[in-house]
Subunit: 417 residues, 2 copies
Amino acid sequence: MTSLLIRNVVHNQKQTDVLIENNTFSRIAPNLNTRTDNVIDGSGKAILPGFYNTHSHAGMSVFRGISDDKELFSWLHDDIWPREARLTSDIIYHATKFSILEMIKTGTVFFADMYFEPQVILKAAAEMGIRVAASHSALDLFDCARCEQEKRKTDAYLNCPHPCPEITAKVLTIHAVYSASPELIRYTTETARKNNMYLHIHACETQKEVDDCLSQNGCTPIEYLDRLGALNEKTILAHAIFLNDRDIELLSRKKVRLCTNPVSNYKLASGVFQFQKLLEKGCIITLGTDSMASNNNLSMLEEMKLCALSAKIQSMNPTAGAAEEVFKIATRNGAEAFGLNAGIIAEGKLADCILVDLNNHFLVPNYNLISNMVYSADSSCIDTVICNGKILMQNHHILGEEEITAKIKELSEMFRN
Amino acid sequence: MTSLLIRNVVHNQKQTDVLIENNTFSRIAPNLNTRTDNVIDGSGKAILPGFYNTHSHAGMSVFRGISDDKELFSWLHDDIWPREARLTSDIIYHATKFSILEMIKTGTVFFADMYFEPQVILKAAAEMGIRVAASHSALDLFDCARCEQEKRKTDAYLNCPHPCPEITAKVLTIHAVYSASPELIRYTTETARKNNMYLHIHACETQKEVDDCLSQNGCTPIEYLDRLGALNEKTILAHAIFLNDRDIELLSRKKVRLCTNPVSNYKLASGVFQFQKLLEKGCIITLGTDSMASNNNLSMLEEMKLCALSAKIQSMNPTAGAAEEVFKIATRNGAEAFGLNAGIIAEGKLADCILVDLNNHFLVPNYNLISNMVYSADSSCIDTVICNGKILMQNHHILGEEEITAKIKELSEMFRN
């Protein structure tokens, strides 16, 4: 057994000690007289849950800032897709590590990813020590031969060794209703159900997606996914912007998890997530950053702030998107969506947490720490990140960060043109 | 004469030296062989203009996080105003220094402030070395006796010694059309004109302000201010959300400077600034953070990001609010609005600048530094801040920052209830 003691840290406005044994918070009480393998001095710091980023494309970090302020079609066709065609496993590996570096710097302990080469993503996450849910993203463009290939890739993923199974959430991924055939959606859904896995899908990101589905299938993407058996409490739908009342009722009743990505939705001018309405209708919301190509960073702090601000302006009601609610969405709701017994600091929960510096100007005055985290904090406030009982960052430093960043500077040269 | 040489810094994608003599960039060229009083190693860093924050209430920093997610009326009446009544000159002084600390940490070199006790604000700015435009904020609530008092306060401000005149922009301030009588607006406007001063006014922040003005005066706040002679190219209007086409034409023709405060406008659910339309109509836009009570930080980096994102989602057009345009608004436009020959890095310009760390993960890859500053950077990227030729922050550290922050922690205790 490994053990770690965090001494004199602020938890719920009181100073306490926090004992981590193996990967679990085992005791939270003042003045614990325990001999442990490792001790962190928590004085001047507060302990909070880390963030659970439920939608990202970590391999796209080599494209940050390469194309902005463009129409979606031109952005994808002229700038992103031609460069994605030049990606290799090796580049995706380094790009994913770099994304994870930025996630840890900003307090994230888990990410659900959707990209190519799941084995490479899992390897990068295992090396960095962060929790991950990543698999092959099933996409056949309604081509029968390709559908069969995609099924084989999904099968292969099931049998692949996970480099660090204790921090890996089991997931299968479907790209979207406009890019995956009903046959592929059915197969992937059924495979996930049989293997007790989560299912991660892009849904209702644009009005066009909804209009096309209505004209081709006579129903919305939500109804279509439901007909194919894809909607249940283990399903995570990314974006979920364009939903009608029937969709919302269905999503609420089936306890489907929604992932909102406000920065990306604003930057691409996709549309505005119906935050307050969905909350009132009982839908379960989680938060994600999407990729560096459409954000352009992976900070859940910035994502929380826009999530709150967007909810207020959308409803012209400053009480919407309250800080406590948004913080819960970014932590506990994200953990629960992937079946993790985590997201709050309590005995018996998985030992995922961050320590924030209470002397950092962004956290002063400290009338309400959660308000400060949602509306004021940036990465400079995050001192320490612990995931599954292991220290990933301490005193703002991650082991090997200089090399990981230098590698991306080098690799990015080949994508300049 | 004092001199400062910044060696081997990236400027416009090329490595160069930058020579500052007194308060001016005097030479920008590689390999300057000059003996100077001080040398900064700029390697691994880029030089950029600092930010010009054209609307703030720095004294409100003691209220960060004390009241969020509330209706405007309850926020002001129940939480903010009763506490403002307890402010003293001493508290405003320390609170303003603390706000300036956060501004410098996030790359700001100038702020236009609107609060009580201008002498105290000017003193705090002089001690921290940041440029400022602050004066008594004229407000009489249509009370004749109070109007006369307010005029005397404006006169007193004219004759008050400025602790650091070389970094002070001369400004007079009118609170708003709903809080200042026409007599007071006329007097302040005329005084500003006679003394060649700038004029800073809250305008059209809420629909109610416009509706009330229409019913009381038969015209919009913009037309009303124009009738009182308050609109010209030395006028800065904060918020300026609710504008009709005639207002916009007037503001464009008279070269009035608008200051948008997107975070505050979203947080209070006031409304959305018509960014792209105003730009297309030839209006001149600048950027401000408003106060820590409605933001809740003073980061122009976060303000730029929401400014860009808001422009896109408002027009449902991802090409709106382009990074280069938003960066210009936050730098050059703000400097020009207050008559400062600054806001760009060029020989002959005032030596205001920041050095950003090109090895910081948020700035990697570096395809487009301006995109990275608008969409990705946070305070951790800002290494050095120079204002008027003087170093205000180096290696992320500001002289005395621990004491300034500790003082606010102490003072904030008295506002808790």
